[in-house]
Amino acid sequence: MTIAPVADDALTGTTTLRLRLRRSERRRRLRAYALMAPLVLFLVAFFAVPIGSVLYFSVANPEVVTMLPRVTAALRDWDGETIPDEAVFAALIEDARVGYADRTLPKVSLRLNYEVSGFRSLLMRTGRKAKRMKPPYKEAALARDERWGELIYWRTLKGNGAPVTAHYLLQAVDLDLQWDGSVQRARPEQRIYIQNLLRTLWIAFVVTLACFLLGYPVAYMIANAPPRLAKVLILMVLLPFWTSLLVRTAAWVIVLQKAGIVNDALIGLGLVEEPLALIFNRTGVYISMTHILLPFMILPLYSVMKGIPPEHMRAAASLGAAPARAFLRVYFPQTLPGLAAGCLLVYVIALGFYITPALIGGGSDQMLAYLIAEFATNTANWGLAGALAIVLLACIAVLYPLYHRFAGAGGMKLG
């Protein structure tokens, strides 16, 4: 028996078929990439790059180097222990004159004022007079403003002589970068950032705990209710979830105010004599944040609890376990993934809260996000705003992988 030779055309036939298959496969892949491309490019341009620029602003320090270039260069070899000599003063006067003429001086003055208050007025006054000053500049400048005889101004100038600085990042954790590159703790009255960070972590923790205590029984009840009732109860959880955050915050202002219904009810029941202060303090922040975040706890818990067969508890009971024991040993451990996902979700969202504490809290209840907004929009200190944003981002970056593990990508149930 001989093997029939494969016909030539049959061979080429399979080859072209394979080729065509490969080509159409390639076309399919290209089409898929082309469909993804617009959104990917959009998010890179309007999200990833801007987030990157936040990182950049937190270390960027271009003002002194570019706007006072001569004095920066002249100070490079200065030892920082004595008042600089005539050459440095000449460079300073020249820089101030040029900066005053092309209007860059106010910007760099403001920048230096962040570090030493009073620097702005000193530099601006020197800029105004620079044109009429004559050598020797050292005497002329000191005659106009004797503050040029103080080391702190010169050291601050020298300390900002590089285009990149760790100043803001260190400031965001209550450290102070010295002019000579050493790092110290910030002065006591400036140590506010660690305290604010701890407060943010603490508020988020209390709110998460409250959401757990209130959310767990409710999720359990919904998961074990008859289907029709469960549907109604879920809608009751979703209703506040869908209501605008600002509307809920406004509602809490009305409910918790001195003459609000909570105080009316407490007085009516004779529980208190005077209306309680429930708003513009920490209590109000805890209450309203818990209310806003409670659905984020209930929904993941509910979806896990729904998957736990009721037979497990019955089996435990039939084996002689008391209800509390059966719950703790059999039921509770099975809800841990949902609990972890819910807690992490609530905690992470709570860390970034801004609007609710800003409207319901007092001055000592503001969180990290509030400081970021303050520095960005009110005092225009972009560097510090960026550095604080990085601190917040770092806290969340630590927690997200954990959440991802418990809930999976996109594990948040929407609605």
């Binding site: 089409r31 998010l43 620029s53 029984p217 406004a250 009305i254 990508a409």
Partner: protein, 275 residues
């Protein structure tokens, strides 16, 4: 959840306590929303009970052109533009993402949903830095672009979830019958995934419609949206016109929630009949 007939007295008491606790939590969840609505028709300018009388005057205040109707108009314009942009970009990307496997897929997915993970204040700060330099701060374009960034993950997630239950053989069948890819998409795929696309679009709309942090950073008074105006109102003076606006917003969100729930209920029913 029913108690077995053989439950002991202790268990019965505990069961009642448990139900009472849950009832209180539900009161807590709904109380602020329920309390606000009647105050919006109060004839007094005080925000408390009992209401001295009923009047619609606060709704007359909010239906004046300035500031509330201007804010409503701004909100609707920005939210609609955001919805269109986010839904188109998100649906296309979700379709592309689910149709092939590749090595960097988890990375791309992470990028697409990352705006949802980063705190709003940081996204707003980033947009503020970028738009201040591009001249887009204080413009409608800036607001729409920033809101689209925030809204896109919701579209990607809902449409991806819908596409995972979508049978791609439908597209193959259409193509084998001679439909070009575009026609197959619009005639077969899109109608079938429509509930997911609409849910995603509603999430996108709500994201933009309720958003205030980005507005605080980049909107100038000409672009003040309803939430932004509400924020100013809450800061300055709290009068019942704010409560009337809140009531209006509650009605809008309840209606949108009803649409999403109906769509979900319908698709669950369809899934059941198929199985």
């Amino acid at each position: 959840m029913a108690l077995p007939p053989h439950a002991s007295t202790g268990q019965r008491i505990w069961h009642r306590c448990f139900q009472a606790i849950c009832a209180l939590v539900f009161v807590f969840l709904l109380l602020p929303i329920v309390v606000v609505i009647p105050i919006s028709v109060s004839s007094s300018s005080l925000l408390n009970y009992p209401l001295p009388g009923v009047s619609l005057k606060w709704f007359e205040v909010i239906f004046q052109p300035y500031p509330w109707m201007l804010a409503l108009q701004n909100s609707v314009v920005i939210a609609c533009a955001t919805t269109v942009l986010a839904t188109v970009l998100g649906t296309l990307a979700a379709y592309g993402l689910t149709s092939i496997e590749f090595r960097f897929k988890p990375l791309v997915m992470a990028l697409l949903i990352s705006p949802m993970m980063v705190p709003l204040v940081i996204t707003a700060l980033a947009a503020y830095f970028l738009f201040a330099r591009m001249g887009l701060a204080g413009t409608f374009t800036g607001m729409i672009l920033a809101h689209t960034v925030l809204a896109v993950p919701f579209v990607v997630i809902t449409v991806t979830a819908t596409l995972q239950g979508f049978d791609r053989n439908m597209v193959r069948a259409a193509q084998s019958l001679g439909a070009p890819p575009l026609r197959a998409f619009f005639k077969v795929t899109l109608p079938l995934i429509m509930p997911g696309v609409i849910s995603g679009a509603i999430f996108a709309f709500v994201t933009s419609f309720d958003e205030v942090v980005v507005a605080l950073f980049i909107a100038s008074p000409a672009q003040f949206t309803l939430p932004r105006q509400l924020f100013s109102g809450l800061r300055d003076n709290l009068d019942p016109s704010i409560v009337a606006i809140a009531t209006l917003l509650i009605v809008i969100s309840v209606s949108l929630m009803a649409v999403v729930e109906l769509l979900r209920w319908r698709s669950e029913k369809l899934a059941r009949t198929e199985a």
